[in-house]
Amino acid sequence: MRYSIFQILGQALKGNRGWKPVWREPEPKAEYDIVIVGGGGHGLATAYYLAKNYGLTNIAVVERGYIGSGNIGRNTTIIRSNYGEPGNIPFYEWSLKLWEGLEQDINYNAMVSQRGVLNLVHSDAQRDAAARRGNAMRLHGVDAELLDTAAVRAMVPGLNFDSARFPIHGGLLQRRGGTVRHDAVAWGYARAADSLGVDILQHCEVTGIRVTNGRAVGVDTAKGYIKARKIALACAGRSSQVAAMAGLRLPIETHVLQAFVSEGIKPLIDHVVTFGAGHFYISQSDKGGLVFGGNIDGYNSYAQRGNLPVIEEVMEEAIAMFPGLGRLRVLRHWGGVMDMSMDGSPIIDKTPIDGLYLNCGWCIGGFKATPASGWCFSHLIAEDKPHPAAAAMRLDRFASGRLINESGGGNQPNHH
């Protein structure tokens, strides 16, 4: 069923009683060409691009919960490609380009809003770093503008410009960055993949991966054994456990990241704005709620909920940046569990086991990567060689020293 303005008008006249479920709920077949473990954004996008780009449709996406229950529905919906490392910039820019054409491609309103992402700077050194990153982006053909204080003041008048501690000296702006309605990304990819013949198997937890003679041959699930010619893991947050079923030990720790939504208010923040003196990002949803978050809690956790010290820190950052938010009430907050890789960058690669492919380690930045992750992972699975845009995201880079380390820190799993 293709969506169009005529269909919406027709449904309106019929009291909207004619809408049908947009994907099937099939029983598992005994065997598939490809089984994708994880029905999040990345898994669904992988299935869709395998079907669309390579004509492979004998595919199952197996999901432990329901579509949209994991990190695809737990993030702060930001898309951007303002990275600074050679292995990252082309990948995230390709992702942003795919976002720009996504709604037409999958015929689904994902509310892609290129409202601009503004990174504030609060010191001379930070402005130098922003200029360097902006130049790196522009050398790769990505849009970046370095703004002075007056330009930032015109864009976001509510900021605390003259704070004695964190004065705002300007910002690095990527106008093509913005937000996307995250649930719609899951639903849109699920619908598009399903319409091409992909089976989406919800409430179908993988309990084992069978390996015979060094080759992955199938998965045990809550709905029985499913044979597969290729198995692709896209289950960030749980990657370590699922990979361990095949005997792999990953360079990942799982940490909890919290996010917050305030009560709805009139339009106040038109862009995505990030605080340079801490780790904080904020935007305003179309319903009026402010959507914001900060850093991970910083300890291993699968709990999908965090603790008060980080909540307190995030609120302090919000008030330091926007003093006018002091009377605003937080409506909801939640946590998601993140694959924190040891250099802050993801892994899209083959594994030492034939027929087993790995997509993991997205840290706190997986949402914006959803389309390119699916695109490049599907290329890897179909062609058995890495996509050029993701060629640096190798599993063996930790042993070979070719890390992709945006923050320039050591082997700690608390980068992003």
Partner: protein, 91 residues
């Protein structure tokens, strides 16, 4: 989350800094296959969903390293002991 410091009693987790898995053992650097052992030590983790022995530093308290046993699924704390007592392979 509150951590039971063996010296200070139960304290808010905000007073502590986290250093991760306490069961890792640093290779001595002299063996023939030490490269792989160092990659394991520096990068690869068991990352269990369940009980986890982990190093915390009581930065805003007694400034000692402790080993906490904690369930990563529920944040339930089973106990804590000083790292120097031999509770950590890293000490």
């Amino acid at each position: 989350m509150r951590l039971p410091c063996p010296h200070c009693g139960e304290r808010d987790s905000g007073e502590f800094a986290y250093y991760g898995d306490a069961t890792l053992k640093r290779p001595d650097g002299l063996g023939p296959d030490e490269m792989e052992a160092f990659v394991d030590y520096a990068y690869r983790r068991d990352n269990p969903a369940g009980p986890h022995r982990e190093l915390w530093y009581h930065a805003a308290g007694c400034r000692s390293w402790i080993v906490v046993a904690r369930d990563t699924r529920t944040h339930e704390i089973f106990g804590a002991e000083p790292a120097r007592s031999g509770a950590s392979s890293a000490s």
